[in-house]
Symmetry: C2
Subunit: 116 residues, 2 copies
DNA sequence: TAACTTTATTCGCATAACCGAATATATTGA
DNA sequence: TCAATATATTCGGTTATGCGAATAAAGTTA
């Protein structure tokens, strides 16, 4: 594998990590697991989705190396792998907030905007 | 709109930003635009994809508020909106590198692994 | 206006992602 | 082993995303 092929592979993996983040439930899961590790059932209740859906989302996060899974008796405890995932999410959220704030200011300034 | 509805909306937008990052070409575009702003044609050459594909990817990045577009005569110059997007991408790439390095070390340590 | 350059969009299609429902697997404890 | 609990997977169908090819639209210059 030559250098540019390697770079392409890494960028592909980079995109796969991002696509693991590209779902609101999975983002909530990561923030929730950042508080503390949890098993599937508790996480399902916390996020408000079904057990199979929770399990499938966790599988995706695990495949991409974002969470770890440890069996604890009958249940499986999932944990956030790396604090930097939260840092990255926070940065993106900050960009988002700036965008919303900016838009809100425009609305204030121009009262003829009735919806946005 | 109540508080939890708002939170859900924001998380949805958060996920939409992440999904804008969930493609290797778009990641390359953001890193490329971080060097300097470019028009569509130059970016297409740099990334190595067609002009229509480039335009479509840029449309997605623009819709999600990640790049800006400024017409400069016949061409349109695209620019990165926010440095923090690169910081976020770098953090995710660092997590990825750690994962790859860790895996490589395991391979070194256990010579009976022939593929990974 | 006509020819040219640059960018954006549409169309038809293929693939990937996601869901609910049902079911399978794993673990514990009686 | 059997019942109960916890987790994971499969199935079928829907929606979202991506592409190339063709075409439209916008801007420039003669």
């Amino acid at each position: 594998m030559d250098k540019s092929t390697l770079a392409r592979e890494v960028t592909q993996l980079h995109a796969e990590i991002c696509s693991a983040l590209a779902d609101p439930r999975r983002i909530l899961m990561l923030y929730t697991l950042h508080e503390c590790s949890r098993n599937v059932g508790d996480l399902a209740v916390e996020i408000g989705i079904s057990q199979p859906a929770t399990s499938r989302h966790l599988k995706i996060l695990k495949q991409r190396g974002l969470v770890s899974a440890t069996r604890k008796g009958a249940s499986v405890e999932y944990a956030l792998i790396d604090e930097r995932l939260i840092q990255a999410l926070d940065l993106l959220r900050a960009v988002l907030y700036d965008r919303l704030t900016q838009r809100a200011n425009l609305v204030e300034e121009a009262a003829n905007y009735t919806e946005w």
